[in-house]
Amino acid sequence: MRWTTSRVFCIAALSLIFLGGIYLLMLPSESEGASGIETPAAEADAETDANSSEGPEKVLKIATPNVIKSESLIGDYYLGIFAHLSNFPLMQMSEDGKIVGRLADHYEVSEDHREWTFYIRDDLYWSDGVKVTPEDVQFSMLYYGEKNPSGRWINETLESSSVSDTDNSVTFKFNKPYTRIDLEFTTYNILPAHVWESIENPMEYSSKGPYVGCGPYYIESVDLNTARLIFRKNPYWKGKKCAFDKVEVDWYASEDAACLALEKGEADTYYKYASSYPYANIERLEKTGDFNFVEKDSAGMCYLGITLNEAPRSDLQFREALAYAINYEELMQLDTLGYGSVPNRGLVPPGMEYYKPTEKCTYDPEKAREILKKAGYEDRNGNGIVENKNGKDILLELMILPGYERDAELLQEYFRAVGIDIEIENVDQNTYMDRKDTSRYELVFSRTTPWGMLMHSGLGTGYFDSRRYGYIEDPAFTGLCDQILNTTDSETLRSCSYSLQDYYAEELPVIPVYWKKVVTPYNKRFEGWHYNNLDGIYTLDTFLDLHEV
């Protein structure tokens, strides 16, 4: 057989016709497009739909790279985060970084900080029509304490709990003073006791939905095969009316695919927990003309951690030299493409409560060399690397996770330029966690998350206090952490927080490398976006205020 041009052309044309036929067969029909999922709340829904949507169903679509891996409401990390919309936590963060009520209206705390009373809102109803009660809150917290590994601290510290139906409150009594319960309770979704009490092991319970919720929406379905989580309007919601009948969260395992889908108009906004829309894709998205952006200072940041257990790292002068050797502007520009800023030595970014402006980090390699020389670190053998006080070349190991190679190489270059040799250790996540939590490293380049910045005594102390996951043993530092942990008085908190930032700035146990912004795109057709440092744009206010322009 000879492959003449006409024969090749004919075969190609036939193949195209064949493939086109298959494609037409595969296209979903109109009837397939509408989901036929029936839910227990369907009757109530029908009623609501009749009232709210005479026209086509209004759907808000959110694209996210946060992949839900299991249909377990309590067990899956990201499903738990998204479920804040349907199963309110007791508390939430406000736009100005304060902890305010969500399911709770307000709270009281005893003088010894052991007894916390939360007054529950009396206008909340579960999506099956049952009223939300303080018993639900008590049940949920005891449930988490007993069954959820990351909630075991509740079981460890909770002495007793009681409810009062007269003032719709629930009281938790702890076996030690606890000043940050309001913050801790921003993460635990409250469950309907009448549904969950029959489930022996909630961690093992998974369902494709619906899950009974008490927010403006409840979870109608979660389907790992479509990679989609669907919220439907709670027919018993008495609060402000929402503009959308349905909220669809579409997750994409690849960030690139999520960005393409957003650009194509498959979603109205993009949400990644504790992160920004990829900076490199912002310009491309801007060019479509369809999107605006919420741009806010992030509570998360990048830093260089320095364990202080051995010389020369334990020497403040040496750490000063390290701080002056870093070209902050270059690193920030490279990593954030300008959506960041050179940090202050006080570590804490401006978006956080009790932020104190401290001295700006500056790049001055000449000064770094001078400081090293004055402190006795000199290059006596002329090989370009300074020697420590024992006469050996200084070589430090810099531990990083995959993804930070470029930053590590630049840091290596900066430090070598002032005479400090660096060996980069690129380790996997498991090794990283293991070594970081036990402080078995010399230097680490890493990032903080907003929640991480708030944990322990806040202001990043959870990362650095040796009694948690850190390496700072200095009583001056741990004492400040304890003072913060022992008070709920805002003036004392302010003064201690300021002192803590001064400590970071003066002692440099950690060098902030850059602060960054969280940029969240949204379709111009919608207005009413709100933002807080913990949840980004995924806040209750956003869902209540969002409307079509």
């Binding site: 067969l25 990351s150 093992e204 966690m433 959870g462």
Partner: protein
């Protein structure tokens, strides 16, 4: 002892070794499964960590953990996933079905396409069309899978809007599944075909120079008959080996394709289990893969005998 019994014993020994390695390898990885479970930004006391370790059976000596693991296996119990909060057998059952569907179809399509085109290209390597096809397949086999998958997504889903971005379906109907599977299956079939094409082409080029091919031509057989009745049979032995190896790939899924198209398959399951140190999922997945590879090798042994009379001839 008959050959069959010897082979069975050999496979049984391999299976036991695999089971032992399945137990050992995840535990050799650095890190602590309990810390992974708790998460990076959550602090719990050492007492709670110990309590959790005890609940997961990780505080017991390794030999006790091993005997418990073997005991569970004998009861067909693959354990319970720390992270997915589900019995491993259930997780695997769901994932294997979908993975078989999209990777299995891709491997089969790749095998047919690659073998036939490779055979023809090897038979007439000098023609322009075959040279062009060969260049195309070399380029494909050199392209990183993630890049090719993303390129296809960009062109066919983003630019042309012909296919969806993610998932196995929108609604669980055959049409919707086919619509969603088209791009991932095409990408993987092309990869599979490129490997098979290159091996088959080389194999046919070698075989067509053998005396039996010359003899067939001397008998007056047409080219097409020589290729498809004689040469392809002998040239397909390396393809059978490759297909047997691909069975492992079949169950371990295609990580990159799954990530780009957000598919809930075996590849991401294993990847997440490695990251999260989810021992039961790792053990269960590797066991299934090992069983599949053993089975495929047994089938390959049988197919060798069918394809090559020298194999079934007693020595």
């Amino acid at each position: 002892m008959s050959e069959m019994v010897k082979k069975t014993l050999r496979y049984a020994a391999s299976f036991f070794l695999i089971v032992t390695l399945n137990f050992a390898f995840p535990r050799l990885m650095p890190g602590d499964p309990v810390k992974n479970l708790i998460g990076e930004d959550v602090y719990v006391s050492e007492a709670v960590m110990e309590e959790l370790r005890a609940e997961m059976g990780l505080n017991r000596p390794l030999y006790e953990q091993f005997t418990a693991y073997i005991g569970d296996l004998l009861r067909f119990d693959l354990g319970y996933s720390y992270h997915l909060h589900s019995p491993v057998a259930e997780v695997l059952r769901e994932r294997i079905g979908w993975t078989l569907l999209f990777v299995g179809v891709s491997v089969l399509m790749g095998a047919v396409l690659g073998t036939l085109l490779g055979a023809y290209a090897g038979w007439k390597p000098e023609t322009k069309v075959n040279r062009l096809v060969c260049c195309g397949f070399i380029a494909l086999s050199c392209t990183p899978p993630y890049f090719l998958a993303l390129l296809c997504l960009d062109i066919f889903a983003f630019e042309l809007g012909l296919f969806p971005f993610k998932g196995f379906y929108d609604v669980p109907t055959p049409g919707s599944v086919m619509y969603h599977m088209f791009l991932p299956v095409t990408v993987m079939a092309l990869f599979s075909a490129s490997r098979n094409f290159l091996i088959m082409r080389g194999s046919v080029i070698q075989e067509k120079g053998q005396l039996y091919a010359l003899y067939a031509r001397a008998k007056g057989l047409y080219n097409i008959s020589i290729l498809f009745r004689h040469v392809i049979k002998n040239a397909s032995l390396p393809i059978i080996t490759l297909l047997a190896l691909d069975f492992g790939f079949l169950f371990s899924g295609a990580l990159f394709t799954e990530i780009v198209f957000s598919l809930n398959g075996m590849g991401t399951l294993i990847y997440d289990a490695i990251i999260g140190k989810d021992y039961p999922v790792l053990q269960g997945s590797f066991l299934v893969i090992a069983l599949a590879v053993l089975l495929a090798n047994m089938l390959a042994d049988l197919l060798y005998a069918v394809a090559d009379p020298r194999v079934r001839r007693p020595t």
